[in-house]
Symmetry: C3
Subunit: 313 residues, 3 copies
Amino acid sequence: MTRSTATAGDLPHLITLRDLAPAQILGLLDRAADLRQRFAAGPAPTALLDGRTVVNLFFEPSTRTRTSFELAARRLGATVVNFDIASSSTSKGETLEDTLATLEAMGCDAFVVRHKENGTPARLARHARRAAILNAGDGNHAHPTQGLLDALTIRDAKPRVGDLRVVICGDVRHSRVARSDAEVLAALGVRQIRLCGPAPLLPDPADFPGCALHDDFDEAIAGVDVVIMLRLQKERMASAMIADERDYYARYGLDPARLARAAAGAIVLHPGPMNRGIEIADEVADGAQSRILDQVANGVFVRMAALATLLDR
Amino acid sequence: MTRSTATAGDLPHLITLRDLAPAQILGLLDRAADLRQRFAAGPAPTALLDGRTVVNLFFEPSTRTRTSFELAARRLGATVVNFDIASSSTSKGETLEDTLATLEAMGCDAFVVRHKENGTPARLARHARRAAILNAGDGNHAHPTQGLLDALTIRDAKPRVGDLRVVICGDVRHSRVARSDAEVLAALGVRQIRLCGPAPLLPDPADFPGCALHDDFDEAIAGVDVVIMLRLQKERMASAMIADERDYYARYGLDPARLARAAAGAIVLHPGPMNRGIEIADEVADGAQSRILDQVANGVFVRMAALATLLDR
Amino acid sequence: MTRSTATAGDLPHLITLRDLAPAQILGLLDRAADLRQRFAAGPAPTALLDGRTVVNLFFEPSTRTRTSFELAARRLGATVVNFDIASSSTSKGETLEDTLATLEAMGCDAFVVRHKENGTPARLARHARRAAILNAGDGNHAHPTQGLLDALTIRDAKPRVGDLRVVICGDVRHSRVARSDAEVLAALGVRQIRLCGPAPLLPDPADFPGCALHDDFDEAIAGVDVVIMLRLQKERMASAMIADERDYYARYGLDPARLARAAAGAIVLHPGPMNRGIEIADEVADGAQSRILDQVANGVFVRMAALATLLDR
């Protein structure tokens, strides 16, 4: 295992990848790859975070991401508390800052936060006394561990990252995944990032500096090495002037014919959960070019790396 | 402790007891009894499943069974994830197969599945790549660990299993417990199994080969060594042409007078939760012949045995 | 660390502080302080409760108290099961006593119980076979660990407890916190306890022997060393003939001007969650005299002491 000399440095919180220097991003990816290798031989729990407590503060439901963080923390020996918002003090009128201060006073060391409003994790980071805040997705702002796990998955399959052409297709405008992916891929120096979707779902170009915008998927996918498909929230279709799911699939679904327009050996990613038959065909989701389950596997290691880095102070 | 030479053999999943050879069933019972002895001296956690992850995938609420599996897994050193269906990807349109694949990719080793539809655990077992599936109850099809814990409880009290006459009383038609009990008791070679309940709640005889059907409980209980009472779902009463709970209790409730018709020293089982005063009298539930709390205690050891056997590959 | 010779003695359950001798209370406070010192150096998990199982049985939502007990138990090495009442057998008509017996049969060692009805934890304690019951708040009856953590916080700041004048202000009539605080402070021999609130929210004096009642907060706070503010349930305001939140704050809110009427160096406590701007001003809640986060921190250690004492049999 060669290891770059990059380190994640002194990172107090993980809110958005825009805050990180490329060397810090590389440091996190390398640490994730290291942890993956250590666990490859089978169960090999480390005690790195023994006695530390990680709180899952999920204001939006997400079993997938919550479970990934929970497994990451527990594999490192941490205690995990799943904070039940519905029955919490927050629902009794306590401010979110007081909830944070209370849990910090109980000895909690890290907070994994998902919230529908942009900026909630950053706001908590400003109020934290000593705990680390990890953004697990806020509004359409950022989802940094998703960006990191996508980057690790891409680097595994295509190590010459500087040569890559990447397309991100779907509801880019409302996607925190697209933002974090574009940030991490720019930091890693990919050759080109194309964003594709129905015009009403394309973002303000200022949010994605250096990226090209397309509303024709056949054109956007031509010659790319990496295809990142996004989940379509069904309630967005109307505003995107899409008639129905069949119409969306015809224009923006990834089927084998369309994938054949990408470069030979192109890989396919999707953050999940997938709408099969809407944004992606079964043959692609389950096909040889899919790296969707690798993303999931890498997600746990990236989150272990992030927790270890933030709590190893 | 004598131990039979029976082993559970190479068991990939535990879906129904019909799939198991008698030697495999005996192997699981012996392993449960072994684990019980090891833990009898007080807390003595084993590290057999250290670093392994068990997921509770409960699509029907059941704190009792879920907690029993959770304690079993944790006593063996495993990490347990309670998957919250309500806030899960499955509720966002993800297929159950994709949920399984995702959790497997995160490194989960076993899935304890409860579902209201017959066949869901078997369907997941066909799609599992390397994880073990344990059926914790599907529809009216099977509840194999309940069958095993009932068998262990009966064998503890009445080791000469070949001599036993057993009655199962209640809504046999809709009961997965009755099916798994009948299967395990047939495999252990009991002398006679009688099924008793209101005629509309008696099963198709083809589902219970070799069992005798009765709608008169006084007749069915005469001379038996084991009485297994089933929980009455109140919503079934109408279809069973039962006027009310008092009527049911008068005809099918187990009270001391009725229990006196069984063989001397007969034991009483109930899978819980009990409807006291509907299917069972307080004096019987709490009496000397009740083995109901032994069932609960044995449930944890049987589930430890099942998890250890399935994951010890 | 000097340690009093007090011990908690042979305590089977913790239901109300009225059951405890002063020496037992001092024993619990000393044990909490000991544990705090051991954990001060950083993560230092003890294995005192290794292999033991603690069940959180919360029939009223309370993430704060539940999490505090959960962390306390896990830091001592215990396994914690959060019993989900909504999907439990209790909701299927099982008696609470049967739920307790079932979980005891599964090997659970302690039950942390919160219930809206007075006396539920005591009732469970009468039915427990070998498990310990810890009251985490029942109706307006008792919240013994809150009383203990308040006592520890007060003793830390003001070791000459016999000299102290204390005021408890708010809806004293409906407060289990007020009752447990008054009991523990009386046992520790404080000089004076004053109770203050709108007349309809003042308690029957027989419930608080030896305490003085006031409906004028400016008068009640004069010269006290400790101010314990209670949370106002908004639905109580009407019955208390309070016009609105501003009216309450004007008469019973703790702001810097009012706090200045207390003795120099007086400390402020609040059990949380706080209604800022209703019963307490931001400047006080976050000010130098506030011990509110110390209460939270001490809560975990008091609960560790209680669990260790009850289970160390």
